[in-house]
Amino acid sequence: MENLHVDALVLGGGIAGMQAALDLADQGFQVALLEREPSIGGKMITLSKVFPTLDCCSCITTPKMSAVAHHPNIHLLTYCEMQSVAETGSGFRLAVVQKPRYVDVNKCTGCRKCEYECPVTLPSPFDRGLGAYRAIRVPFSTAVPQTAVLDIENCILCGKCEKVCAAGAVDFTQRAETFEIQATTLVVASGFELTPLNAKKEYGGETLQNVIDPLMMERFLAPTGPYGRVLRPGDGKEPTSIAYVQCAGSRDQTLGVEYCSRVCCMYAIKQAMLISGALPMADITIYYMDIRTFGKGYEQFYQNAQAMGVEFVRGKVAAIREDDEQNPVVKVELTEEGRIIERTFDLVVLSLGMVPTAGADGILSLPLGEDKFIAIPAPNANPCETARPGIFVTGTAMGPMDIVDSIITAGSVASAASAYIREHQKETAYA
């Protein structure tokens, strides 16, 4: 790997990172985009359809992924891990490790013959572990780059992939390589994780097969999902009654997540609408404290869902257990009626919240807020500036937000970072 010298280095290739890279590159800056997974796309590329327009998610994300890959000012670096950062007079110097794919990216055509040949089947994180892929695979159908990657930790070294590859791309001699990136400014777009499915033990997440997280439901609703339809993972039954438990990982002091995760109301409503389309006979109930449909067009979306027959029940879910047929039984306090009931569903979705992805902030020694997201010292003056000069932040690394807001903050960070680059490069030119 050759060392790189760029104006801006964007850390993270999810929607916020991609948009920030594009907005910087469109202004003529040289940008490196660093992603630790083998493909860019982040969480967004795993979604089905997106609110409030119900566009197919892939139709919004994949063209941006493609634009990143083809942009003359963007150096796309996938499957790379940041090791260390040093401040230099003119910006930052990063040591980066290119992890071995055991596949030559210049030769691989993405034909997936190796994947079909590979004998080892593994749970696919793209499908939240509910679908499968092979030890060598193209991570998902719309991955960028369209290049296979071999998981050496789960490989039996049988060599079948190497034999079947017409391009001669499989290369077991690859090793991790370290290289250096110099950048005037850094943009952190390290994204979020869901609060753990089992964080609230009384909800049975991870113990009960038919209590799932919302990203699993996204995969069921996506045309490329693991089952090609909505089934409950416990036994492959098409669910006819589905409950959503709102604030299952947010606004909860016992979890240390006191904040609102902003997206859960909308994704639950959206999924309810999509399920109604896929399974017209299904009953869908959403248990909530407050419905927070605050974005542009969101309140109308909520009203549409009510008109479609999605049932909104104000209630606090106390616990979830399972009956003899794997059906989750929800114990809920109906706060508008003052009584506690139990109701049986085929499937329960816990509307989990957002917590920050760990990692980037530590290497960059960025101070965090009480909510553990990267601290923004002056949100009402410089909403994308971290406590360290020259390091900016965008998307869900700065707190929970939806895609629309992530894209706006990406544009915003592009402005802030480019002003910094111009100012800083002018200064160092005279220095």
Binding site: A132, Y133, I152, C155, L157, P233, D235, G236
Partner: protein, 99 residues
Amino acid sequence: MSEAKTNPPSRGELLKQLREEHASSVERTQVLFREQRSLQQSICQMIRETPKTVPEIAAAIGKPSHEVLWFLAGLRKYGIVVEAGMCGDYPLYQKVEEK
């Protein structure tokens, strides 16, 4: 880096090194692979002639339903198994005929 030129290791050496480094994970994965193969074979055997639902297959081979569903998801993805109608609320799965 030292200035003295050392010959880069040969392909054979690199492969050997890889095998040594990953000896334990290869062993572990081989066990996994054998289990997977036998399970997949018994699932496919079950649904070669008549399509079946996940609970039917699970009961027949004595494995939890969710595991069977996971295998079927993989088999379906790689074109080995297809959906073949519904039985009540459960889709039926069938092995694709080999050419």
